[in-house]
Symmetry: C2
Subunit: 218 residues, 2 copies
Amino acid sequence: MTPLITAFERSPDGGRGLARDMRVRWALEEVGQSYDVRLLSFGEMKEAAHRALHPFGQIPTYEDGDLALFESGAIVFHIAERHRALLPDDANARARAIAWMFAALDTVEPPIFERAIAAIIEREEPWFEHRQNVLAGNIRKRLDDLSNHLGDSDWLDGAFSAGDLLMVHVLLRLKGSDMLDEYPNLSAYVVRGEARPAFKRAFEAQLAAFAGKPSTGE
Amino acid sequence: MTPLITAFERSPDGGRGLARDMRVRWALEEVGQSYDVRLLSFGEMKEAAHRALHPFGQIPTYEDGDLALFESGAIVFHIAERHRALLPDDANARARAIAWMFAALDTVEPPIFERAIAAIIEREEPWFEHRQNVLAGNIRKRLDDLSNHLGDSDWLDGAFSAGDLLMVHVLLRLKGSDMLDEYPNLSAYVVRGEARPAFKRAFEAQLAAFAGKPSTGE
């Protein structure tokens, strides 16, 4: 069967590939698995039919035969585990790649996402700028450590893995910001991820969906 | 070999079991694996020796023979995968349990952790109360959905899994707050987790470490 994923009918990022379906599309492209997409309005995401798939009423979801999954990290992991192209074969290297998946989502993404949301919803608050600066400091702490770890390497731990896929996607939200530009090796890391043919195909597919064009990844 | 984990020398929570080593201790207890603990001061966590294990200078880490891991989610997953007691055998049920691991850490924990941190470090900020209320609203949104999903079930998806272990630990931070009390089924869910013998052993071990007593989990 062809897996079916869900995505925003109109992504709030205007097609910049920041929505979390992008991670799943990219993973599917990396392993050469075609997929179908169901686009959802914000209203549909909160309806019972979608909540049966995603208890928190979000995107993406993933359906394949009897299996229904939610959480982009879990979906990427499922794809990586099933196709064995995004995780190393060596047991220890595999465990470390999984650690980078969790690091991307639990340690690096929270301050980045928090600042992006605050930039929208706190714009009218008198303390807006002060808080944006505090959050930028939190992000820089993570980027300092990540940059030190990456050094001159192409990827976080040996060959490109699902850990890199999630980390590049998390960092993509900082693209064009001074913050990312301060770390040449991290900027180059993001560019390296974007240059992968699978990334490009996934990016075009999510952009086509945003523009109202057919959006299957086939 | 006996795995070695790291934990705070003096946990900022005063031994309430909220630090992330608790998750790893609990998982190890569930699968019946003894372990050793190295306690670290805040200074030691930021030193090069520890950063070689944890690029972001945090706890916990996990060492077992040639393998060194960081990120509590990844460590719990590694333990669950290796011992096959915290993940179902059925492939689809296993994938769903993993989805709940990611949901606990990526969807439910961020607003809870964010609010707890803000309650400490933003106390003097002009936005303190406003933001505490906003974050409480964000937490309630997650708890609404989680409570609706859990319903009358004991655990999130069939038998107790690593997904429940992480979710209970994430919710533990709300224990005694009005927010958790508003959801009787979630309060009961946390109590159910705390009642597990493995939880109790892990809790006692982290408390003993905080109190300066020997803290191995053997």
